[in-house]
Amino acid sequence: MQANVSGPDQTRAGASPASRLLRGVVVGLVLLVAACGGAVPPETEDPGGAGLRVGEALGGEVTDGFRRADAPRAFEFPRDHGPHPGFRNEWWYVTGNLDGPEGERLGFHITFFRVGLASELAGEARWHDSAWASPDIWMAHTAVIDREAGHHASEERFVRDAAGLAGATEPVGRIWVEDWELAGLDQDRWMLDFSVNDYRLRLELEPQRAPVLQGEGGLSQKGPEPGDASYYYSVPRIAVRGEIERGARGRLPVTGAAWMDREWSTSVLAEDQVGWDWFALQFDAGLDVMYYELRRPDGTPHPLSKGRWMPADADDWLLAHDQVELEPRRWATQPSGHRYPVEWNMRIEPPDGSAPHEFVVRAIRDEQEMDTIIRYWEGAVDILDSRGEPIGRGFAELTGYDAR
């Protein structure tokens, strides 16, 4: 009883009010998809209470009027790099590993989330003549890992899709949340420009391979119900070059490789999922692998966990959860106190019948948790062979570890 009462109140006293909504939006809709949702009992402290509340506010009826990801669709690029109005959520998710000229090792992460608070504006048309009138808001997260400086920084924003403050152009071209921007999506080269605290990144992105559709032809089932799915594709290998301003430490020219994930959906909630471990791995040999393991409350993988095996210059294949073994080797406690796995043994039986791949995935830095309203771990990783030699790089995203 005590906990019930005091938990949410502390939340209110502590967190900035704006954060409450967005925590809810995040928890309920976007980032964690099925992870926390309604599963978190109210007596858990911070995110649970608010999440539940917003889940109630936003859940259920709010899918009314939104389009659902309930059937395969034809993808077309660059058109589909642009926004898909009518779905409740959509994100642009770019992660990457970067190198400086003197062996500096860096990583970055930027996510643009569009969230429809409602499918359309309610009320009489008379009220819709303001440039501010919009049912959509944007959330954006950025992070940078600077291994030499021993630094991981992250930032988040919430801005309404109105008055030119944030949005995505139609036809495709530009995604922006104030002065964070992903532009040129209709071109061969994209421009990414954003800041994380003192860091400013200006990067030129050049996709190295065509977009790869995830799930079944781009329809990624996340829950048992039809429509509890998303449209999902990746651009797994993107060459990066550009410049990072590092506050007092000056500018640094960088090169590297990035990965873009794109997803849009309306309802993806499932009750028996507490979080996921997602990997975007780029092997030096040219192979790219995406795999996410949805975790059930007992820690076992959910049968809907899946991935994609994307060899260079060959067909790509769906990775079913029984084709992948993922075993955490080491855990690390973050400054926030949450514990995440930071090193894994991974074994993949390639669906194309080639020999099994066995390797180690290891975070380049243990502490890469996002200091955002909803906590998650988003970090650069190295891929090591059995001898410990690096054979690739990638990014991992770990969610649902902050609940207790």
Binding site: R20, A122, W127, D129, S130, P135, R160, A163
Partner: protein, 846 residues
């Protein structure tokens, strides 16, 4: 102190409940009035501050534009340039169906977190609905209770842009108990999403301000980056003028309550003294049975303490009730003049409560001190007679007069110096009042003697007059109380009357057009609403007008802070109508200077507040940046207590005059033209326009202005009534006491053959004499106070000058009121004396 002693002393309560109750009533009223005014002041102040804080939030600065807001793209540009500690605001007044004005604050909930709690919380379903359902609004929490509306109800709001049906959202109804913490009781703003606010207030594409919260270093950079037309202004600077004015208004009120207290003090003293003297036989017998002096002193003081405590407690309750009435009045005034304030609760501050309790109990004890001391001091209590006291009182008159003269002189000096501002002025005024009042007993005694001499041969009137004189210690304080109350009433009449006259005269002068075209908006919003400037020609043609004037008010930054700038394109020869107070040269030259050079006129309050004189320079932000303007003249204007700067259109606009519209058009019709015809035509034309506008005559504007004026002073009338009530009770108590003391005489007269009706007549006559004296004495005092209020206090507080007008009608009314009050107050004593049983009265000791 023995119980029986206390019993013996307090038995009188049962015997003469009415008399004792009077003492109680005096304390109750004194405490109630002071507390009520303090409460009302505090509550209004809190509401005012809260409103200011709500509006400003935690912003340190605000970005303001010239007039009617600025393009919202400026905000986008700032945000895209990385200025994140900023929040866009669209705000303005609107009117409820019941005619009350509310203040609408349009915010972007996503940008609010750093500034205001009130609508930042999209996690709350209602706040989210603000965004997804334009046309929804969050009324202040305290509004619901009395409004009789429910969550989801539709309500018609009238604003500068027209009439809108909004949907009311109640956080509580959406199950958000936590909202209380954020919102707080008594919040006064109607919060809505910025999109709704733009539509509701007709501000599409525009913002009224951008709130900024930054440290100094960042501010400098920001200020440099701001485009032309935008200014970064500290929040404090924007509120300063309003705060000062509100304070002046409150000091005025407090002074009124202290006046009531002063009157009540006379009353308490009167009844307390009487309470002791009435029981001198009891005192005598107590002495005889061996009660010591200290015991007697103690028992008298104990009673005073009881009266004080009970009276104070009741007074606190009454005061809280009374405050509910007052607070609405105060809030209304503040809303009319300074800001929209919604006061929903009256919360006594512990400290003020303590002060008032100390005041009530202390005053009771203090007033009883003299009689208690007297009671204890006299060797043989039998000698504690009225005559003796009266003789002493008369001897004291001279000392009193000396003190009075000293006070009068001191008051004069304080007022003359006038250095300490408003408070010093009030101190001076109170010194003068007290001095005058202390002089009253002496004058009263002389007047009564004179009257008695005059009435030689008129035996009965002579008895009446001489017995008043003999009971000077009784009649003088009561008369003083009534004098004070009447003087206060007269002074308020003089002040308000003069003010009202001056305002009316000014309106007549200022409204030089025959017809006005103004935006459709509640009065408070009108200065912000705009009409297309290009209408001017069309309007002139349609109305066949001789000339068209335009005027627009706007807040603009200057080197003396935010100022109200009135940009006008006047009729020809307009300066002949303007009540210029100080200016150099002929009006033609002045007109040319205003047109051709950077010169402005300022209003009298502006000159007073900013200490500006003709020839001084002001740096004022105009359309294309700041320029220095010379003050070419000061004119009388009651339009704004803060003061206004008047500038001609061509000096303000670099390019097209009135780019963002004008506040109003004034049309001057040719001699003999029928205004009704012109109005009809204009209305037909306006009906086809998209922008809502209406035609109004000077008379309508005058009427509305005077209505606001009268509302402002309604509270002073209320206090006046309370003051008179206190005085009425004082005179009632005094007459009651007087007649009781003179019972033996009356009984003798009755035994000699005076009819009961004669007794009644005699008592009423005495009341009339006291009332008449008070009324006569109140005339000079009241006129003097009125003069000081006008010439010193109002100037000090508002910077308003006005022509002294002696409202003889109201003065006469007040005099009659005083005599009437005294007559009314003598009704019960007269009736009681006439019905008195003669034999017991005859047996009383002389």
């Amino acid at each position: 102190m023995s119980r029986s002693l206390v019993h013996a002393w307090l038995r009188d309560w049962r015997r003469r409940p009415l008399q004792r109750l009077l003492t109680l009533v005096a304390v109750v009223i004194a405490v109630a009035v002071v507390l009520a005014v303090d409460l009302a002041n505090q509550s209004a102040q809190q509401a005012f501050d809260r409103s200011m804080d709500e509006v400003a939030g935690t912003a340190t600065h605000q970005i303001l534009g010239p007039a009617g807001g600025f393009a919202e793209t400026h905000y986008r540009d700032l945000r895209l340039a990385g200025w994140r500690a900023t929040a866009p605001i669209v705000e303005g007044p609107a009117r409820l169906p019941d005619g009350r004005t509310i203040y609408v604050l349009g915010v972007d909930p996503l940008a609010e977190g750093a500034f205001r709690g009130v609508a930042s919380d999209i996690g709350d379903a209602p706040v989210q609905r603000l965004v997804t359902e334009p046309g929804t609004i969050l009324p202040p929490r305290g509004w619901w209770a009395d409004a009789g509306r429910e969550h989801e109800d539709r309500l018609i709001l009238e604003s500068a842009a027209g009439r809108f049906a909004v949907t009311l959202l109640d956080r509580a109804a959406e199950g958000d108990e936590a909202a209380t913490d954020v919102d707080g009781e008594g919040a006064s703003l109607w919060v809505t999403d910025i999109a709704t606010a733009q539509t509701l207030l007709g501000r599409q594409g525009r913002l009224d301000r951008i709130d900024v919260s930054l440290d100094d270093a960042a501010l400098e950079t920001l200020a440099e980056q701001l485009p032309d037309g935008l200014e970064l202004v500290p929040v404090a600077a924007r509120d300063q003028a309003s705060r000062e004015l509100a304070q002046a208004f409150r000091i005025n009120l407090t002074a009124m309550s202290l006046l009531a207290l002063l009157i009540a003090a006379f009353l308490i003293y009167n009844t307390q003294t009487f309470a002791v003297l009435r029981r001198r036989e009891v005192l005598a017998s107590l002495r005889l049975v061996g009660a010591g002096r200290r015991a007697l002193f103690g028992v008298v003081m104990l009673e005073a303490l009881l009266v004080g405590v009970i009276g104070t407690l009741l007074g606190v309750l009454l005061g809280i009730g009374l405050a509910q009435v007052l607070v609405g009045q105060v809030a209304q005034t503040m809303t009319d003049h300074f800001f929209v304030v919604a006061v929903t609760e009256v919360a006594p501050r512990p400290l003020a409560l303590l002060a008032v309790i100390a005041l009530g109990v202390g005053l009771s004890l203090l007033a009883a001190l003299a009689p208690a001391w007297e009671a204890a001091r006299v060797a043989s209590p039998g000698r504690l007679g009225r005559g003796r006291l009266e003789r002493r009182a008369r001897r004291g008159l001279l000392g009193l007069a000396v003190a009075a003269l000293v006070l009068l002189a001191a008051g004069g000096v304080v007022l003359r110096l006038g250095a300490g501002g408003l408070v010093a002025s009030f101190v001076g005024l109170f010194l003068l009042i007290t001095g005058f009042v202390l002089l009253l007993p002496l004058v009263l005694a002389a007047a009564l003697r004179g009257l008695a001499r005059l009435g030689r041969g008129q035996t009965l009137p002579r008895i009446g007059v001489r017995s008043l004189e003999r009971s000077l210690s009784r009649s003088a304080p009561a008369t003083s109380a009534l004098t004070l109350a009447l003087a206060a009433a007269i002074s308020v009449s003089v002040m308000v009357g003069s003010f009202r006259d001056s305002v009316e005269q000014w309106l007549g002068q200022a409204l030089t057009s025959d017809v006005y075209v103004v935006p459709v908006a509640p009065a408070a919003a009108r200065s912000g609403a705009r009409l297309p400037a290009e209408w001017g020609q069309a309007l002139a043609r349609i109305a066949a007008a001789e000339s068209v004037s335009t005027g627009s008010s706007q807040d603009t930054p200057s080197d003396v802070g935010m100022i109200e700038l009135y940009v006008v394109a006047p009729h020809p020869a307009w300066l002949d109508d303007l009540p210029l107070l100080r200016a150099e040269g002929p009006t033609e030259a002045l007109d040319r200077r205003l047109r051709e050079r950077d010169a402005v006129l300022v209003t009298e309050p502006f000159a007073a507040h900013h200490d500006v004189a003709v020839g001084d320079r002001l740096e004022i932000r105009v359309e294309d940046g700041r320029r220095v303007f010379e003050v070419a003249g000061v004119y009388r204007d009651y339009g704004s207590p803060q003061g206004t700067v008047l500038m001609l259109t061509q000096r303000f606009y670099a390019g097209t005059p009135g780019a963002e519209g004008v506040g109003s058009f004034g049309l001057r019709l040719p001699e003999g033209a029928d205004a009704d015809v012109a109005i009809e035509r204009l209305e037909a034309w306006l009906a086809e326009r998209e922008t809502a506008a209406m035609v109004t005559r000077p008379g309508d504007i005058e009427q509305e202005s005077m209505a606001i004026f009268d509302r402002t002073f309604a509270i002073t009338h209320l206090l006046r009534v309370i003051t008179l009530l206190v005085a009425f009770i004082a005179i009632f108590g005094a007459l009651m006491a007087l007649q009781m003391e003179r019972a033996r005489e009356f009984a003798t007269l009755r035994s000699l053959g005076l009819l009961p009706g004669g007794v009644r007549g005699l008592v009423v006559f005495q009341g009339a004499v006291l009332g008449g004296f008070a009324a006569l004495a109140a005339i000079p005092l009241g006129l003097g106070m009125g003069w000081i209020l006008i010439e010193v206090i109002n100037r000090e507080a508002f910077g308003w000058g006005m022509d002294l007008r002696l409202p003889w009608g109201e003065v006469g009314e007040t005099v009659l009121l005083g005599i009437g009050a005294a007559l009314l107050a003598s009704a019960i004593p007269a009736w009681r004396m006439a019905r008195m049983r003669l034999v017991p009265a005859l047996r009383e000791q002389p």
